[in-house]
Every structure is written in C-alpha cells, then in structure tokens.
C-alpha cells in the first residue's frame, strides 16, 4: 500500500506543478459544475466534458465585464460510459481572432518539455473546414457532408469512406493519417486548386504545429467527438501508449443568446503520468 500511496502523492505533486505552469502562463482556474445541466424530463448526469461547463460560468458575466482574450482552465474528473478520468481543461477564449492556436501550441510545447520524457510524441491534426472542403469538392451535398462528419465523430471511418467511395476511390484515401511529406506533396497542391482559403489555413496551422518541434501529421478523419468543434482539431499521442495525452480544437459554443469562440484542450492526467521519464528524470 505504501507504494501506491507514494505513487498517488507523486501524481498529486505533478498535477500541482502542471497547474502552476498554467497559472504562470496567465491562465486562471475557474470552478465548474461536475454534473451536466438537466434537460427537461431527463435526469442529471455527470459531465463528460469541461468546455460547456466553463462557458456556462463565463456566460454569467455580462459581455462588458469579459475581457477577451480570456485564459482559463478547469480541473477535475469527467465521466464516460461508467468510467471516470481526471483531467485539466484549458481554454483560450477569444473574440473572432485566430491567435488561439499559436498560444495553445506553445503552451502544449512547454508542458511537454516540462516532463523531460525521451519518448516519441506525435501531434495529429484534423480540421473540420478542410474535411468539409474535401467532401464538397468530391460532389457530396450538404446532407452527405453532415453524414461524413457524424460518422467520423463516432469513429466510424469505414462508414464515412463509403459516402465518399460512391464518388470515387481517391476521395476516401484522404481519411487516414498522412505524413507531412504526403500532405505537402499530394493534398496541399490539390487544396490550393479547389479551396485556396482552406489551403492557406492548413499551411498556417501546420507551421504553428511544426514550430513545437513535435512530429506532426494530418488526419482528416480526426474530427473530435464534440459538435462544438469548428476548425482545427488535434490530439497529442505518445507512440506506443495507446491513449491520447491531449485532445483539443477550435470551438464555438452557443450559450443562450451568446456565442463563445476559442481554442482549448483537455490534458488527460492518467496517461500523462504513465509516460516514462527520460534520463533527465522528472520535471524540468
């Protein structure tokens, strides 16, 4: 038991250090409701996500009192299918600007570096806008585009590919992880032709991601499972770990008559602490 207590103590201390890093980076902690708001006729349930709970808190302030951009985070468990997982949820709320990705990627880079692990990390990038551009260029109507997105949000890649396969085998080939080289050589030039704004956006985001020094690859089947994602979606993996360390993206949440936009991510503490420490040993 002593070993278990020592391990839990170590994790607790590392969690405090992560929180300390967020505070030093200018992010403020805010308390959030661990249950999701009850719908009429429905029993309340434990939350599956922090983002909506954070926005709910923020929306209690009048627009005049909200000074954007706003850097906030929430900590605590989320629940899914009878399991719970401790997490830190970091949100950069902004006012229609597109600075969030740069700041969030830099923050992730600093968090990663603080752990001093030698393991290989992969930052996977998806993008709702690019996916929709691809689907529209293939000839899918808006209903078909929505079907592809719904299938991908449920992890049903084969089902999503079937919608595109009807229009030609080449379209479905893009719904898989693509190396940076394959993206640049094959998909980027094509995007330039059919959707120039999407192509520019992808180049901007790729440059920001690559600046972190992490191995980066695109995967348009990565859409996240939340309906509030509107643009970039990303996940950080350690090769061989089998669970995401971080999942996030650009969001748009409507709360009553107000709309909140920004970029955020969830850091999953259990896989984060299961990462082996490198020879540098522990926190830098």
């Amino acid at each position: 038991m002593q070993e278990w207590l020592a391990e839990e103590t170590r994790r607790y201390q590392e969690t405090l250090q992560l929180i300390g890093q967020l505070v030093r980076a200018g992010f403020s902690p805010i308390p959030t409701d661990p249950s999701e708001p009850e719908e009429p006729g429905e029993q309340g349930r434990m939350r599956r996500d922090h983002t909506v709970a954070i926005v709910e808190r923020l929306s209690s302030w009048s627009p005049q009192r909200l000074s954007l951009p706003l850097r906030v985070f929430s900590s605590g468990p989320v629940y899914e299918h009878g399991r719970w997982a401790d997490s830190l949820d970091v949100e950069y709320v902004e006012d229609g600007a597109t600075q969030g990705e740069a700041e969030v990627f830099q923050l992730i880079q600093r968090l990663v570096e603080s752990r001093a692990s030698q393991a290989e990390l992969v930052l996977a990038l998806g993008h709702i806008g690019l996916l929709e551009a691809l689907c529209q260029a293939s000839g899918l109507d808006s209903e078909g585009v929505e079907s592809v997105r719904r299938s991908l949000s449920q992890g049903k890649i084969a089902e999503a590919k079937r919608f595109l396969l009807n229009l030609g085998a080449e379209w479905a080939e893009w719904l898989c992880p693509l190396s940076a080289e394959r993206w640049q050589r094959h998909l980027a030039p094509w995007l330039e032709q059919v959707a120039p704004p999407a192509a520019q956006e992808s180049q901007r985001l790729y440059a920001l991601a690559a600046a972190t020094g992490l191995s980066t690859r695109w995967d348009l089947s990565l859409t996240g499972s939340w309906p509030y994602y509107t643009g970039l979606v990303f996940s950080l993996y350690e090769v061989g770990l089998g669970q995401a360390l971080i999942k996030g993206g650009r969001f748009r949440v409507v709360q009553g008559s107000r709309e909140f936009r920004g970029v955020g991510f969830t850091l999953w503490l259990d896989p984060w602490f299961r990462r082996p420490l490198g020879s540098a040993g522990g926190l830098a």
């Binding site: 299918h81 996977a124 992890g155 049903k156 690859r217 993996y237 090769v239 061989g240 089998g242």
Partner: protein, 211 residues
C-alpha cells in the same frame, strides 16, 4: 513502449475464416493447427496476435493492449466501446441477426423473446414499438421456443440450417454482420505500421470479395 502491431482476434469462426486472409496478406501465422496458445508476439515479418472472446476484442483495442482488432459487427453494436475506430470491413464471418419463431407471422401483442443480444433486441423492439420481455440467454437459443421459455428468439443466422433443424423460421432480418477491423485511435495515428497492417488485411479482403 513502442512494439510492433498487435491484432486482437475474436476466437471461433472469425479466427478460422481470417487465417487465409492473414496468410494472403503476407503474414506468417506461427501457431500450429490445434495449438491452444492464445497469443504470439509481433515479429519482424508479422504482427502479433491475441485470440480472445469476441466481446473482449473492442475492450483490448480501446485500452491500447492491441493496436487493431477483428470482431463481428454484431458484437460492436451489442457491446459498444466509445474509444475505437472502425476502419474497414472484411468478407469473413458473414451472418445476419434475425427474429425467428415457430411461424413466419410477426408477434401480435405482448410476448417473450430470448436472446444473447439484449441491446440489439431492445433497440429493435423499440423501433417496432413491440412490447416484449427479453429473456437473456448466452447460447442454444433455438431451444427456447421448444422448451416453452420464449416463443421468439433473436439470434445470428448464417445458412438457416440450425433454425430449420429446430422447426423455427425467420420472421425478420434485424441487421447484417461481418467481421470489422477496428483500431485504437492513438496507435492508429501514431504508429505507421498499424495502418500498414490494416491496409494489407483490408486489401486482400477486397480482392477476396471481388473473386
């Protein structure tokens, strides 16, 4: 720890019918016929394999113990795992999940139905707006009408022979099923070798389908 890809395979019919595709994909199968060994490690020329009961395949994949899994679509619907990717279909273990009874007439009024597919049955009953009590059984469902346990069953059917031998007839097909290749999202996006293994299996599957 980064190791070669490992595939969790549902034991039984899926395992038997997958082996020819596994070989056609160029992967050696190191276990001898009749071996009771349930796993082997990945080698330089092949992925590793873990042979488990069907409902356990999505669990092993979601937990990251296996990179890929091969399991029936019926089980993916019956035992949904939220953190897996369904990346393709293989032309093996094809079957249907059907409602069967002693006569081809659909039920009329409240009734009992025996099944090992409680979720699929519950959803089917809800969709049909039929009122029924589900009797949970884990096997030998054909006996349920014969011994008076339930006049109807929801079960998988391949050729229909077992139903006929027990004087049962199909009333309605609920879903079509075959083997699906599933993947752990983290391994899928972080380990290129995982996508390569899946692609090779799915490619020979497509060729088999064409043939």
């Amino acid at each position: 720890m980064n190791r070669g890809p490992v595939v969790a395979i549902a034991k039984g019919r899926i395992q038997e019918e997958l082996l020819p595709l596994w070989s056609q994909a160029g992967f050696p199968w190191p276990l001898t016929d009749g071996s009771r060994q349930l796993w082997f490690e990945p080698g330089r020329d092949r992925p590793g394999a873990i042979i488990v009961r069907g409902p356990d395949v999505p669990v092993l994949v979601a937990q990251g113990v296996a990179d890929l899994g091969v399991v029936g679509r019926d089980l993916l619907i019956e035992y949904p795992e939220w953190d897996i990717l369904e990346v393709g279909e293989l032309p093996v273990a094809r079957c249907r999940v059907v409602l069967a009874g002693r006569t081809p007439q659909p039920p009329d009024g409240p009734f009992r139905v025996a099944s090992k597919y409680r979720r699929i049955t519950r959803n089917f009953l809800r969709q049909k707006q039929w009122l029924a009590e589900i009797v949970p059984l884990s096997g030998s469902l054909e006996l349920a009408p014969l011994v008076g346990l339930a006049p109807y069953i929801v079960d998988i059917v391949e050729t229909g022979r077992t139903l006929r031998e027990h004087h049962l007839v199909e009333i309605e097909t609920i879903l079509f099923s075959s083997a699906e290749v599933i993947a752990n999202p983290a391994h899928w996006r972080a380990k290129e070798a995982v996508v390569e293994v899946a692609d090779r299996l799915l490619k020979v599957g497509k060729e088999e389908l064409r043939a």
